[in-house]
Symmetry: C2
Subunit: 322 residues, 2 copies
């Protein structure tokens, strides 16, 4: 019987550059220009690799010449049919996905590897300029709800969409990134929905949102986004993305980039300083417009002083703040 199991590792490697969250992507070996972007992935060598994390670091170093700092296991994806190549009798593909945070750096090796804006793949997750692309998926969702068999099912769909996309009293929840992707998938609002049904997506603008990815990699990306957003709140992971010394605005921009929502500047400063997450260096940022900002550094000691030190991001309410 034993249909074999193949285990591989996927990495969502995130950086933030110029206010944009960036993700490292590759083209599949079956290279032709139209091949979809994929997340970097590599094998576990059951013989040589003592732990999954070491395996991951090893092949990321080899494939992209990147030395990743913070690494965290995300989720193990193993549904049957993830890989169409799996076919009838092929091996069952099990992927352990990891999240890694780095300061963006030139990609050395791997000609196919490339940093891209993470929100190109999930534009509805970026609410920094108001609802923007989040609103853009609404028509599709409405059509989907209307096409429901029966009015009870229609109601359910409407409620689910409203909840996911922050159109209820609960407001927008950045943490629900995965639920949103799964909803869009179900609603046929992303390219993968049609690919997996082996049909052409409906024509017309705005019918599918964001750039598609190979296999279920966009789902993995959504999972990663949800995880960082959650983690930010109670672990000082942002600092993995910053140089050792930074201004409070730089810090804020990174939190905003990942959270996908704008933050109130003065309150952010109060929060971050009040939590004693950072300490001033006494040095100031050179040559920038406006009053020079003090350079801060991460205060490692908070880890010993506070529970769950992190940047508590407020619920994105109705209005955009500035």
């Amino acid at each position: 019987m034993a249909r074999p199991i193949v285990l591989n590792l996927n990495a969502v490697i995130l950086a933030v550059t110029a206010g944009q969250p960036r993700v490292l992507t590759v083209r599949r070996d079956t290279d032709h220009a139209s091949a979809p972007w994929a997340l970097p992935s590599g094998p576990l060598d059951p013989q040589a690799d003592r732990t999954l994390e070491l395996a991951l670091r090893r092949w990321i170093r080899g494939q992209a010449g990147i030395e990743v700092g913070y690494v965290e296991q995300l989720y193990t994806f193993a549904d049957r049919g993830r890989d169409p190549g799996e076919g009838a009798g092929g091996p069952r593909l099990v992927s352990v996905a990891y999240l890694a945070l780095v300061r963006e750096q030139p990609v050395d090796a791997a000609p196919g590897a490339q940093w891209q804006n993470a929100y190109d793949f999930v534009p509805w997750e970026d609410r920094r300029q108001g609802a923007g692309d989040t609103g853009a998926v609404n028509p599709t969702l409405t059509r989907w709800a209307l096409s429901a068999p029966g009015s009870a099912e229609r109601r359910t769909r409407e409620e689910r969409a409203a909840l996911c996309f922050g159109r209820t009293a609960a407001g927008w929840d950045g943490f629900m990134a995965l639920e949103r992707y799964e909803l869009l998938y179900e609603a046929g609002a992303v390219q993968e929905s049609w690919r997996d049904r082996e049909r052409e997506p409906p024509s017309g603008t705005g019918r599918v949102a964001g750039v598609g990815m190979a296999l279920d990699h966009r789902r993995i990306l959504a999972t990663a986004l949800a995880r960082v957003r959650g983690k930010l709140k109670y672990r000082p992971v942002v600092f993995e993305l910053l140089p050792p010394t930074f201004t409070l605005l730089q810090l804020q921009r990174i939190v905003e980039a990942l959270s996908g929502i704008p933050l109130h500047k003065q309150n952010f400063r109060r929060l971050v300083e009040g939590a004693r997450l950072v300490e001033g260096t006494g040095r100031y940022q050179a040559s920038a417009p406006g009053r020079p900002a003090e350079l801060f550094r991460f205060r490692r000691d908070v880890l010993r002083e506070r529970q769950g030190p992190g940047v508590r991001v407020p619920a994105a309410g109705r209005r955009a703040v500035r």
Copy 2:
């Protein structure tokens, strides 16, 4: 080359009965009375099981006759050497661990299966009666710190122990259950430390804490505990452990049991009612000492109204509250 990979599923099945968190355990097939307790585990049938979760439900049903409700993937454990049976050329064991929450129910099949108090395995995690067993591990940790090579390393160990066990300004953090287990493992304060080094644990009382488990199952249990504790705060998972109708004290006791800390009764009530997590039924609990308590039910609508609805557990400060 290909050293094969074997994938199995582990389940931490939790219930709370009479104020105690309970975990379903089994004896290994290699049964003799002294065999260590283990978590239930089962295979993935790559052919038949469409998803890991379905596989899990299937063999739990078969093995223990239990129908689990809430299920959530915890972590994938794959370090080399987890299973000593792995040996030199044996297959590499990869385990995907799941957390399941159920109302405790009789265990049907599986003669070896048995509910046990979760805190028997990790007694230091129970702070409901003050520091209790948490303090009991302190001497061992102190010895461990003192045995450090060099005073810098000693300081590091002391700080780490202080942080993990809430002896810093940060206080006790229920969420750090895994860090604590790993610290104890390193410090030789749990039976597994000695088992894995193939040595006898030092004699004398209080040298190893809690009841040991097979393989790395106690680590998995600690992971599960950390996860539920975190999840409680922003998802209404407690209700999975309660009958459809319950008193606020029952609810509080379950939260306390899982969090491992005592809560202020009036404030808990205010919190839970204020968050509109529950609604009164107008019915009252029959025959109990004291004024009869109203029966409440979970308000499912809260999911649509609030972000991250859950029971925000306060940081366990210095003093025990009643």
